[in-house]
Symmetry: C2
Subunit: 328 residues, 2 copies
């Protein structure tokens, strides 16, 4: 480890190299007017000293940190893992590094994360919002920002947003359950804005389409901590005697599968939003709505880069298609 | 959005508020000698202007950014997702925010990530190394650093490190395969240092223990991109006629399960390192070695905090216990 905690100054480098401060500065900034030998001597001193030109100082010069701050709302959700991965792949193409902070479904943490990343002068934000009522315009300021999965309230502000057809996807999945013979379909869905609410609409549309009654007892909205999700699923299976369940996302599917296993049931049809590779190997067949996680990641980065180049363009909301994966 | 891209200066704030620069400075630094009314007026101007005291400037004062930089080597690996989650939970207790960068199994990206995070003056690093030969001492300097999952070469430097009993865990899993009746156990394991190599040793020990021959044709070491992993698994199943397979981690298990499904085989016994909740719902029973991901996350943070407080203590390598999960 380095012997010494403080940073070496340019002055000290100049003294050690036996040159002027101006010469060190020329070497650091790769300017002419300095011999290769001197430059190499200075480089050796710098390397040994652990001197790092401050990122802040460099940003002051270039006004560009080449850094994208990504704030995801739930680190335990495989959907965000997949999208984050795609964001990184795409950001690399534009020579951006991705800094990730998880807000853990906590608006306080999300606001703090935005402040931290702004202080670090990130070039842009990609955010999965935890609370649609957050005052994003004042928080992100004029840092280009793109939302995905969950949009801020349009009354608050318009931002570039990448969403999927939640309503249509949920409708497709529930219709497939009915086509496979289900007559009493329960739903457990997340209470968050956009995704959760839209998926619930799709569920209701499918029932209407097949002229099945919409029964409030079969509809459960789960809090983000999912404290009661197991109770909800058990009620749907045991008391409400559902013959099929629709889980609003992969984290709720996990609860559904656990209850089905605990109750040792083999007669339940299951569908979910999200599609994880592991689903291919389940004993219980799971109909799933595959979100285009790679495209979502790529589009958020593309939208962000576009926004950086053209700040005056009107914000755009993109709705990407989902794909039904049938399993039986 | 803010109307104006550049930052307001203290001078401009002072002018707008009709006070001296010294007064603005007192307000910003929460010092006495300023009326509440003036302070609130300055605060309003600052809020409206979007002025943010630079994180860098604040670090210069406090020498503490309260930020931990986490560099994980593979964003697609569920093990890292679980450990990262635990790191965040524990860091929150100490009032640290966690910044995550994925190095994507690329030592070049890992080195770049360390440089970026050092420029951001993080208080410490938690790293899953992509290359044991990286010159960490010169890269991290005197920033407290803890490694997990994979350790740097001890000849290069000693760092606090949190590992698990890879060898023992792999031995337990392979022994369980043999106890369940397997006589020809193939292995596909990652080529990375520490985890991969130690798990291979455990596999060999189990075979020795049960007096089974160690056959090089049954041992495949996969590159990190897993380009050939499918070919390896197919060879083990089709040509080598293995009746059991041991996957070195959850990403390799995915390849094993895919091949078993494609070949429509129901006669193969499978074991793996790592234990993901989804494993409970598989058609193909999977014996798994559960790493204590929560404890790993907590211990890395504890070790880092301890290192910050006591920089002179000798580095410590912790080996945590794993747990065999039998499924059949």
């Amino acid at each position: 480890m380095a012997e010494n905690n403080r940073r070496i100054t340019i002055k000290e480098i100049a003294k050690k190299a036996g040159v002027s401060i101006a010469t060190v500065s020329r070497a650091l900034n790769d300017r002419p007017g300095i011999s290769l030998e001197t430059k190499e001597r200075i480089q050796r001193i710098i390397t040994r000293s652990g001197y790092r030109p401050s990122m802040f100082a460099r940003n002051m010069r270039s006004q560009q940190s080449k850094m994208i701050g990504v704030i995801v709302s739930n680190a335990a959700n495989d959907f965000f893992k997949d999208v984050t991965r795609a964001i990184q792949d795409q950001a690399t193409k534009y020579d951006f590094t991705v800094l990730i902070i998880n807000s853990d479904e906590d608006p306080v943490k999300e606001r703090q994360a935005i402040k931290i990343l702004r202080n670090y002068d990130v070039s842009g934000f990609i955010i999965a919002s935890t609370d649609e009522t957050i005052d994003y315009p004042s928080l992100v300021g004029n840092t280009p920002t793109v939302f995905f999965d969950r949009a801020p309230k349009s009354e608050i502000a318009q931002f570039d947003t990448v969403l999927v057809n939640n309503e249509f996807g949920a409708k497709l999945a529930v219709e497939e359950l009915i086509r496979q013979g289900a007559s009493k379909v329960g739903i457990v869905v997340s209470g968050v804005q956009t995704s959760g609410q839209e998926r619930l609409k799709g569920y209701k549309q499918a029932l209407k389409e097949y002229q099945l009654p919409i029964n409030d007892k079969l509809i459960y909205t789960s809090d983000v901590q999912q404290l009661k999700a197991m109770d909800y699923v058990r009620d749907l299976l045991v008391n409400q005697k559902c013959d099929a369940l629709f889980a609003g996302d992969n984290t709720l599917l996990m609860v559904v599968l656990e209850e089905i296993k605990l109750l040792n049931r083999t007669d339940i049809k299951v569908a979910t939003f999200d599609n994880i590779t592991w689903f291919n190997y389940f004993k219980q067949p799971v109909i799933s709505v595959k979100q285009p996680t790679t495209t979502i990641g790529h589009e958020t980065v593309d939208a962000l880069i576009n926004r950086m180049k053209n700040p005056q363009l009107p914000p755009k909301v993109r709705r990407l298609s989902v794909q039904l994966i049938r399993r039986s």
